[in-house]
Subunit: 197 residues, 2 copies
C-alpha cells in the first residue's frame, strides 16, 4: 500500500468543497488512500492579521473567486449555489468530523456538510443542520454531537490546526504527499502523481 494522501480541509472554504467532491474518485483511480484532516483556518488567518476571509478583505480577489468557483463547478458537474452568508462558521462541523475520524462515514459526512453549505445554502454552524446530516447517514445524531463537544475532540482539532500551521499550511484545501505541501483544489492531481512516483 502506498503512502496516504493527506487532505486538509476547512468547511468554510469554497475550493475545499471542490476538492472534497473530487478526491475520492481520483484517489481511488490512483489506488491511493485518503487521510481526511479537518482543521480550522481561522487561527491561521488570525496570525496573518486577518479577522475575516481574504475573499471578503480583498474584494477583487473575492469577486474573482465567486466567478471562478461557479465556472469550475459547472465544468466539473458539481452542484453549486453561492451561499447567502460567507464564510460560515465550520467549527462544530469540524469537531464532528474530528469525532468521526476513522469512521466509515467520515467522507460522506464531509461531503454532505459541503453540499449543505455550497449547494443548499444551509447554515452549517447550526446543530440542527448537522443533526439532519448525521441522521441521513444513519448515525446517532445526539451521541455524535455529544462526542464532538467532548474536551478530547476539541483538543484534537486544536492540535490538528497547530500541526497544519507548523507544517506550512496557510490556506485550504491543502494536501500532503510524501511530506510535500500542495495548496489548492487544482493541485490534487499533482499531489496524487507525487505519491504514485
Amino acid at each position: 500500500m502506498a503512502e496516504k494522501l493527506e487532505f486538509w480541509f476547512e468547511f468554510a472554504s469554497t475550493y475545499s468543497y471542490v476538492a472534497a467532491e473530487e478526491i475520492e474518485e481520483k484517489a481511488a483511480a490512483a489506488r491511493i488512500e485518503v487521510a481526511w484532516r479537518p482543521f480550522l483556518l481561522g487561527p491561521i488567518f488570525a496570525e496573518q492579521g486577518w479577522r475575516d476571509s481574504p475573499f471578503n478583505l480583498y474584494p477583487a480577489k473575492g469577486a474573482y473567486m465567486w466567478r471562478d468557483i461557479e465556472r469550475i463547478c459547472q465544468s466539473k458537474g458539481i452542484a453549486w449555489r453561492r451561499p447567502s452568508a460567507f464564510p460560515r462558521n465550520g467549527l462544530l462541523a469540524a469537531r464532528v468530523a474530528t469525532a468521526l475520524d476513522g469512521a466509515e462515514k467520515l467522507a460522506a459526512f464531509v461531503r454532505a456538510v459541503y453540499r449543505a453549505n455550497f449547494s443548499d445554502d444551509l447554515d452549517i454552524s447550526e446543530p440542527s443542520v448537522l443533526k439532519e446530516i448525521l441522521r441521513g447517514l444513519s448515525l446517532d445524531e445526539e451521541a455524535t454531537l455529544n462526542r464532538a463537544n467532548d474536551e478530547s475532540v476539541k483538543r484534537l482539532l486544536r492540535a490538528r490546526t497547530d500541526e497544519a500551521k507548523s507544517r506550512g499550511v496557510f490556506g485550504a484545501p491543502s494536501f500532503f504527499a510524501k511530506e510535500e505541501l500542495f495548496w489548492g483544489s487544482d493541485r490534487l492531481e499533482l499531489a496524487l502523481k507525487t505519491l504514485r512516483e
Copy 2:
C-alpha cells in the same frame, strides 16, 4: 480569426514567468493570438495595503510559492534559479515592453527579461541588463530605452495598470478571454478553451 487572448503580466511575478514560457506554444496550438499586456502590480497591491510582495508579507505563502515554482518549472522543463532578490523592480522593463507594443520582438523581449530574472539571477531594474537583452534581439538599445522613458509610454503603462485594476485584476499573471478574467498560470488552458468555444 478568433478573439485574442489577453495576457497581463508583471515582470516581478514568478508565476507570470511560467505563463510567459508556455503561452506562445499553447496559444499557437489553439490557433489563438496573444495580446501582451505588461502592467504593474505595485499600485494594485498598494491599494490593498501591501507595500511588498504578499509572498514576503506572508512567509508561509512565500515558502510554499518558492517550492511550488521549483516543482512546476522542473515538471515543465523550464529553466529556474531562485533569484537572490525578490521582488525585483520591473518598472523599466515594463516601460520597454510597452514601448515595443505591437513590435515583432515584444514576446522575445518579455521572455528574455523573465529568464534574466528567474533563471540567470540578473537585476532587471538595471538599464545595462535590459540593454544587453535588446542588443541580443538586434534592437537599437539606446533608441528603445529612450522611447521607453518617453512621457507617452509612461502614460500608456499607467493607463494599462488602471485598466487592469478596473477590470478586476488583483494578481499576475491574469488572462482575459471573452472578457472573462482568469488568474494564475494554471488557468491558461481554461482561458484558451473559453476562446475556442
